[in-house]
């Protein structure tokens, strides 16, 4: 069938600059570039280009520019280019349209409608270059009160706290499975987490034995497919996270195509080489909150109650009520993943239309847990499109204990959000299991880039806290007085629990 789909991008090459080194040909995993020996020129197949910028960055003479194809269908606000292209694609393929990374639709990003406070005369700002700023965060349930006793004049703690995770910055690396991303990415995340004093999350694909030595800085995930879940796996992590839902695809299971299941992936996931790894949409042993309670306690029992067990859900309409149930079922931390959450592969229609913004989910969950008097019994981690330190500060002021970053971590490694992760041919060597392409991520360099990002954002968080006259992150947590909304309706302000700017 002749395809009616036109190229999205046009590759332009300055022939004067091009030295025919063929780097672009080697770098492009989509066969966009080719050499024409007759004319001794490099040409491009524009229809293959995904705008990943790999060739742009690696071309030694900076000869390549990629432009959006300006040929458009007749302008129509309702029948947009995207809609028409999607219909044509489906008319040609008969299938679900897949995509990678997070929702790119112009739903509100509430972070951009929230502004922060700053100290002025009566409450001086604190200079983080001269004064200490504390970002250390503990994740896990806290008792409502502490019992202390005096023994021979010493104060002795009688209350035994539940296991806590200690992170030196409120930023953790989100769940990205080995299989969805390459081993080198996992290694870089683990190393960076260990070096900075935070945590990475295995995602649902298990943990390669080579990474067991970083176990103190790893949250191991238990998802519906139970891939890679063994007693060793559970015991090696600092915490366990049960994944119920994911922001990019609430209510949808996972699918790692057989081609991506290499020998190493098969060993880690504990499935045969070349078989599709299908994680079902529901856990087939969880059909109620009591079932979740049983799984939480089964995992706690299996690991001697020495590590926190959390539960991750996608932010949806009734997140607050669900979160309350999760806490009562024993979740030591809860993870809320908003509509901007990313993925290696999801049906585009789900990614773009299911879920709610994380800002609203967080605000209502934190408020609900407080009203029920159970906020201490859990920590809240939010994720789903956290783009920078300002988003993090606003999230913590709204009520989060910490955030997970996924997309941002990948961008630090090189990802350009081309949204083609599901092809397994990520030109940056990130979302792939192809051994040849995977080598593009040098774990040493990637870890350094990740540590730099954590450091940069932590410094910025300290600057913002200092500007608000706060020198310890616990005084920011849930401190909604430090936030004001701009351009929001009364209902939005009410849900966010913040005042309008000027109030």
């Amino acid at each position: 069938m002749k395809s009616y789909i036109e190229p999205e991008f046009i590759v332009e090459r300055d022939d004067q600059k091009c030295i025919r080194c063929k780097v672009c040909i080697n770098q492009c995993t989509y066969d966009t570039h080719y050499y024409d020996p007759e004319d001794d020129v490099i040409r491009s197949r524009d229809e293959n280009c995904v705008n990943c910028h790999r060739c742009v960055v690696f071309c030694p003479t900076k000869a390549i520019t990629i432009k959006r194809n300006t040929t458009r269908y007749t302008e129509n606000w309702h029948w947009t280019q995207e809609v028409i292209t999607a219909i044509k694609k489906q008319a040609e393929s008969g299938g679900v349209i897949l995509t990678g990374m997070g929702c790119d639709k112009p739903h509100y990003t509430y972070w951009d409608k929230i502004l922060l406070n700053a100290s002025q005369v009566t409450n001086p700002s604190i200079d983080p270059l001269r004064e200490p700023m504390e970002l250390r965060t503990f994740l896990g349930p806290k008792p409502d009160k502490l019992e202390l006793e005096l023994e021979n004049g010493d104060v002795v703690l009688k209350t035994k706290l539940s296991p806590q995770l200690c992170v030196e910055t409120p930023i953790l690396f989100a769940a990205m499975s080995y299989g969805a991303v390459s081993f080198n990415v996992h290694l870089a995340l683990a190393r960076a987490a260990a070096q900075f004093g935070t945590l990475m999350n295995t995602g649902e694909g298990g943990l390669d034995k080579r990474l067991y030595k970083y176990g103190d800085h790893i949250i191991v995930q238990v998802a519906s497919g139970r891939f890679g879940v063994s007693l060793d796996y559970l015991n090696v992590g600092a915490a366990i996270e049960i994944k119920i839902g994911q922001g990019a695809k609430p209510g949808i299971g996972g699918h790692l195509p057989g081609e991506k299941v290499t020998v190493e992936i098969s060993r880690t996931r504990m499935i045969p080489v070349g078989t599709d790894a299908l994680s079902p949409a529901p856990h087939h042993d969880i059909y109620s909150i009591e079932d979740l309670h049983q799984l939480i306690y089964a995992l706690k029992e299996a690991t001697d109650y020495i590590k926190p067990v959390g539960v991750k859900i996608a932010a949806v309409h009734n997140s607050a009520a669900i979160a309350s149930g999760m806490v009562r079922a024993g979740a030591d931390f809860i993870v809320l993943d908003g509509v901007r959450g990313s993925t290696g592969a999801a049906p585009k229609v789900i990614r773009d239309n299911v879920g709610i913004p994380i800002e609203l989910a967080l605000a209502s969950v934190d408020q609900r847990l407080r009203e029920e008097g159970i906020r201490n019994k859990t920590s809240i981690i939010v994720s789903g499109g956290i783009r920078g330190s300002a988003d993090i500060v606003k999230a913590i002021a709204l009520g989060a204990d910490a955030v997970y970053i996924g997309t941002a971590a990948l961008v630090a490694i090189g990802c350009t959000l081309c949204q083609k992760c599901y092809t397994g041919k990520c030109p940056w060597g990130i979302a792939t299991t192809d051994p040849w392409i995977s080598k593009r991520v040098n774990p040493d360099i990637a870890a350094r880039r990740l540590v730099n990002l954590l450091q940069a954002w932590s410094l910025e968080i300290k600057e913002m806290m200092g500007g608000m006259g706060i020198n310890s992150i616990e005084s920011l947590r849930g401190n909604r007085s430090q936030l004001r909304g701009v351009g929001l309706t009364d209902t939005e302000l009410k849900i966010l629990g913040i005042k309008m700017a000027g109030e």
Binding site: N123, K145, M468, N471, G478
Partner: protein, 382 residues
């Protein structure tokens, strides 16, 4: 609280910001003394106030009613008074009720009607609850439910007097020269961003607790939302209010020693905690894990008191001043040494406590050097 918008807080500011002068004076033997020295000392720091708030708390005030809860209530309208008095007579045995004696000639601004009641919880109503908890519940109820009334003092054998004016004007208005106590806490207010209003003046008080404060808490939102989970409603919309509720929660309800509570409000930095010996580190870590939301961030100095005890505390990086002095059996705490010297020129000892260092005076226990509370977890008597 709706009435805060009625006439005294027309801009409905969500928190009232203060600079302020603080002064506290306690006779550690429990001997009662009059208002002369406290008024002289606080007036000496006149430039720390601007006439928009002054207040006093006195302990050992009502010996003839020492077992009754003494409620001081401000009324902004007569309906509020009727409503509150109905509630009081339903839930308490009213031992005595009278309008607060005042001097109308004093230079104060727009005083509300102020009454005082000596109360006993109705035994039939208390039902297993502790008296303090019962009184606490009723105070919260009056402050949240009755538009135009609030209880600004509710302890036994102590009382708060406060309003809009310079401290000496407030003292004159409430005829404080007629009272005696063994512990006086005084406050002269400089609300920089708001007009003063009677409810917003210091001290803030719940049950036996009193706090005067200089500073502004940038952690207010976090503190308030944490306290709300324990039934504390911050109706005065003033950041000092969270301080008094935090002390009540930690010391009265959770039964933590005062020294420990101070380490929650102004904890050591993690770099200090990390170098502590293991058992001490465990205690400090647990305190921050559990009570991190009560860390008071931003500049503050407080003088707080309860029966038999006066404390001084600043934030951990000491953004506001505090001076302590001792003369014989008297312990002084003040924003400025000059205020102490004004009433006790020759001090036995005078010092400036470090940031986060608790100064504590207890009836009949101390001698001078021990008055700075030892570190929590170190061998010592509490």
């Amino acid at each position: 609280m709706n009435f805060t918008t009625l006439l005294n807080n027309p801009y409905n500011d969500d928190k009232v910001i203060d600079a302020c002068g603080l002064f506290g004076m306690m006779d550690l033997t429990g001997r009662c003394f009059g208002s002369k020295d406290p008024i002289k000392a606080i007036s000496n720091m006149r430039e720390r106030g601007n006439g928009l708030g002054g207040g006093f708390a006195i302990y050992g005030l009502y010996p003839e009613h020492k077992d009754d809860y003494a409620f001081h209530i401000m009324y902004l309208n007569t309906e509020a008074k009727e409503k509150v008095e109905r509630l009081l007579s339903q839930n308490f045995d009213v031992v005595e009720a009278e309008e607060m004696p005042t001097n109308p000639k004093a230079n104060v601004w727009n005083p509300p009607l102020i009454w005082r009641y000596f109360l006993q919880p109705k035994k039939s109503a208390v039902k297993g609850q502790q008296d303090d908890e019962y009184v606490f519940y009723n105070v919260m109820r009056i402050n949240t439910e009755s538009d135009g009334a609030f209880v600004f003092s509710s302890g036994k054998n102590m009382g708060v007097f406060k309003g809009v004016g310079f401290p000496e004007d407030i003292a004159e208005y409430f005829c404080l020269d007629e009272y005696e106590g063994y512990l006086w806490v005084c406050h002269g207010r400089f609300p920089t961003n708001t007009p003063g209003w009677w409810g917003g003046a210091h001290p803030f008080s719940i049950l036996d607790w009193v706090v005067v404060h200089n500073g502004e808490l940038s952690s207010y939102g976090a503190n308030r939302r944490f306290l709300e989970m324990y039934g504390y409603h911050c109706t005065m919309q003033t950041d000092t209010e969270v301080m008094v509720y935090a002390l009540d929660l930690l010391v009265r309800r959770h039964k933590l020693p005062m020294e420990v509570a101070a380490k929650i409000l102004a904890p050591p930095l993690w770099i200090e905690i990390d170098t502590m010996e293991p058992s001490k580190k465990e205690v400090y870590t647990a305190l921050r894990q559990c009570y991190g939301s009560l860390l008071m961030n931003g500049p503050f100095t407080i003088i707080a008191a309860r029966t038999g005890e006066m404390i001084g505390l600043t934030d951990r990086i000491k953004l506001r001043p505090l001076t302590a002095g001792i003369k014989g059996d008297l312990l002084f705490l003040s924003s400025e040494e000059s205020a102490i010297r004004a009433v006790a020129p020759n001090l036995d000892k005078v010092w400036s406590p470090r940031g986060g260092e608790l100064v504590i005076g207890r009836l009949k226990t101390i001698r001078a050097p021990e008055i700075v509370a030892p570190e929590v977890g170190r061998s010592r008597a509490i």
